[in-house]
Amino acid sequence: MTTSIAGLGTQEKTTAGRAVISLRGVEKHFPIKEGAMQRVAGHVRAVDGVTFDIRPGETVGLVGESGCGKTTLGRCISGLVPPSGGKIYFRLTDADAATLDDIDATPDDRRTKEQLAQLQRIDADHRIDQLGGKAFRAYRRNCQVVFQDSFSSLNPRQLVKDTVGRPLRIWKEASGQELTERVVSLLESVGLGRQHLYRFPHQFSGGQRQRISIARALALDPEFIVLDEPTSALDVSVQAQILNLLHELQQKRGLTYMFISHDLGVVRLMSDRIAVMYLGKVAEQGTAIELFESPRHPYTEALLAANPDINAETSEMKGLRGAVPDPANPPEGCRFHTRCPVATPICGWEVDDAVAWLGTHETILAGLTGVERRSNFDATLAFGDAAAAAAVGHQVENGDIPASMKAALESFSTDGNKVTLTFNPEGPVELEDVGGGHLTACVLHTSRRHRI
């Protein structure tokens, strides 16, 4: 891309050699406030270090369980909320991306003047929270969102003509008769028509309202649209209409999509590449085919195993045991280790896991009087009497403790009424390439594998 900014109403033509959106370590932590003073008691780590690119004309799917941060990431990308960490770039050229890689690899105090100047230029031209004037306008026009809930995202008191025409009016693109004609042609492009201009949202079915949301998102002829569960509230028959429509629009207008959904069948159909999210982080990413036919991450496998498939002769529909961990206090090591059916000793076992396991034995923890936690990996549990501590000791030595949790114990001792547990500390498991751009964050497939 040349550094010139697309003029209003015209589409950026040079798309080779750049990403539409580049995420670099994006974080969004929401403060948890408590009490009358609204003291910050911690942070919900809704998005916790996400890095990937979205290239022109492709559809990147984002899947994961409820609460894993899909919507929050979508809102960060579309500029509706500022990220609390990391950077989001719009139309970053590959050359600039390489420059950024170099600069990021250089420690802060060793950066040259030239590097700093380049950083400033790239940020001003591409980083969405620092864009100036024209560049910001180009981003705003070209990045649109369609939400899941078409009911609450359409103003109930606005006629369709005003809802769809609003972006055109705000951007002074059209007015009067011309505006009406533009709205009519937008409505026609989503399968509605002139007869719908003067109706209110409640006079439409769910599928029709979703079409209106799409028409509104198309009004400024954007390059990129975040589709946040656009069909989750719809029946399959209507979903099929909307998915076909989205594909047709993408073909005609060269659109780039980020497609958020928890429906694996839908994401598989619509996406070229897919990122699987778990607790704010990407667990695995690759082409749709790679992920569905040779998933590497046990979480991706679990999602696929739980998904009923209408074409399969018989499928198992296996569920995952265990609750989804608290995103304010995510597990150490691999975040999935608390539920992973194949977790290894190096997956990040910690004190909380031991306590949770002891908690499944109704009476054992009843005598617990205090916990002295030196770190997430190292703590001393105090019990009312020595017998209770000895019972815990007995469970750890001989009970049904998961073998890999036991193997992760560096030391374990009972002293009077106290039990001290120390696990081998493990750092977070990061994404690594397992071949041809297929990334996974699981020790079974990455560089730590030799330690298992």
Binding site: S205, G207, D235, P308, I310, S315, E362
Partner: protein
């Protein structure tokens, strides 16, 4: 995974648990009378899982609620038909069925939650936000298992404690229960019920049942609330469990767990299940038989195997073709065009005619009959009714 294990032959000969005949439920609205359920006929056999599928608004929940007469009225009216029900007890005593629409309110109160339990579509709304989970599950035990509880209390139970176990105490009596000589028996009663509640919750594999008992609905996630409802529904060993989209709001991994759970409990208690869903793939996995509903009517029924291998009704075919799968190409999903019609006093017709690619004049002016197209496969479509109409048989490819 199928919820119950039995062959088709076995099922056809199994005794009936419920038989719905020509059920009609209407709603009086300003715009006119909505025929939400417009003459449906269904059978549920002992120990089987019947799936009821269809698009939003087609009348699934209204049908389900009719079994326990919980359709809000007004505006709802039971406009016709009957729902015969055979409890296990009645069947063993070789008694005939009772008509759930005819029995007295008092009898219905005894059946509801006892012989027929329902898991409602929205777990948030089905739980009382102001009461702890303990008291909401305990309530079920007090209502339906009070005899067992009294047995566990041993002999010589004072009358006032008996009344407490049946939740018939007045506020003055409840005050007496706090003091000797009743206090210790009352405490024993509470601990017995607590034990039952904890056991019911732990059967649903909820983590930390004792802690959950002390929490309130808003402190629980959707999946946890759903498990509480399942614990409640199964606490009373019902003969028929009606599950109205119990997993629609949940993630697939949790959905699969909850279905395993219903399957385990069903295998143990031999409960029959009416499973309502709009998810065809799910119904295919877990049901023995399916009924497909469209705009207040049943358009096709059969064993899951028959219906999925050889769907007959154009609507069923359309629905199946619309589910995205690995074989679809992007942009080439088969969509059913148009929308579900208004159900306000519909004239005689096939309700699907506005969206059906095979519709001919007769479809717009007469109700199709339900025909048998296999040993236990029925369809309501003129294309199968008579060659005289000269209609081509609907093909599989939409």
């Amino acid at each position: 995974m199928t919820l119950s294990v039995s062959t088709t032959q076995e099922q056809a000969t199994r005794p009936l648990v419920a038989s719905v005949r020509d059920l009609r439920v209407h709603f009086e609205t300003k715009a006119g009378v909505v025929h939400a359920v417009d003459g449906i006929t269904l059978e549920i056999r002992d120990g089987e899982t019947l799936g009821l599928v269809g698009e939003t608004g087609c009348g699934k929940s209204v049908t389900a609620r009719s079994f326990i007469r919980l359709v809000p009225s007004p505006p709802g009216i039971y406009a016709g038909g009957q729902i015969d029900f055979w409890s296990n007890e009645a069947r063993q005593a070789k008694e005939g069925p009772i008509d759930l629409l005819e029995i007295s309110d008092k009898d219905m109160l005894r059946i509801r939650g006892d012989r027929i339990a329902m898991i409602f579509q929205d777990p948030g709304k089905a739980l009382n936000p102001a009461l702890s989970i303990r008291s909401q599950v305990a309530e079920v035990f007090y209502q339906h298992r009070s005899e067992e509880i009294l047995d566990a209390l041993g002999p010589h139970v004072p009358r006032i404690v008996r009344r407490a176990a049946k939740q018939r105490t007045t506020s003055l009596e409840r005050l007496f229960l706090r003091f000797p000589p009743f206090r210790s028996k009352a405490a024993q009663l509470r601990s017995i019920v607590d034990e039952l509640v904890a056991q019911a919750l732990s059967e649903t594999q909820i983590a930390n049942p004792r802690k959950i008992m002390d929490s309130y609905p808003h402190e629980l996630s959707g999946g946890m609330k759903q498990r509480v409802l399942i614990a409640q529904a199964l606490a009373c060993n019902p003969d028929l469990l009606i599950a109205d989209e119990p997993t629609t709001a949940l993630d697939v991994t949790i959905q699969a767990r909850i279905l395993e759970l219903i399957a385990e409990l069903q295998a143990r208690l031999e409960t029959s299940v009416l499973y309502i869903s709009h998810d065809l793939s799910l119904v295919k996995e877990i049901c023995d038989r399916v009924a497909v509903m469209y705009a207040g009517r049943i358009v096709e029924t059969g064993t899951t195997q028959e219906v999925f291998a050889n769907p007959r009704h154009p609507y069923t075919r359309g629905l199946m073709a619309a589910v995205p799968s690995a074989t679809h190409r992007r942009g080439q999903l088969a969509a059913i065009h148009g929308n579900v019609p208004e159900l306000i006093e519909p004239p005689p017709s096939c309700h699907f005619h506005t969206r059906c690619p095979y519709a001919v004049d007769i479809c717009r002016s007469m109700d199709p009959d339900t025909l048998s197209v296999g040993s236990s496969h029925t369809v309501a479509c003129f294309a199968y009714e008579s060659r005289d109409f000269g209609m081509p048989l609907p093909t599989l490819d939409w």
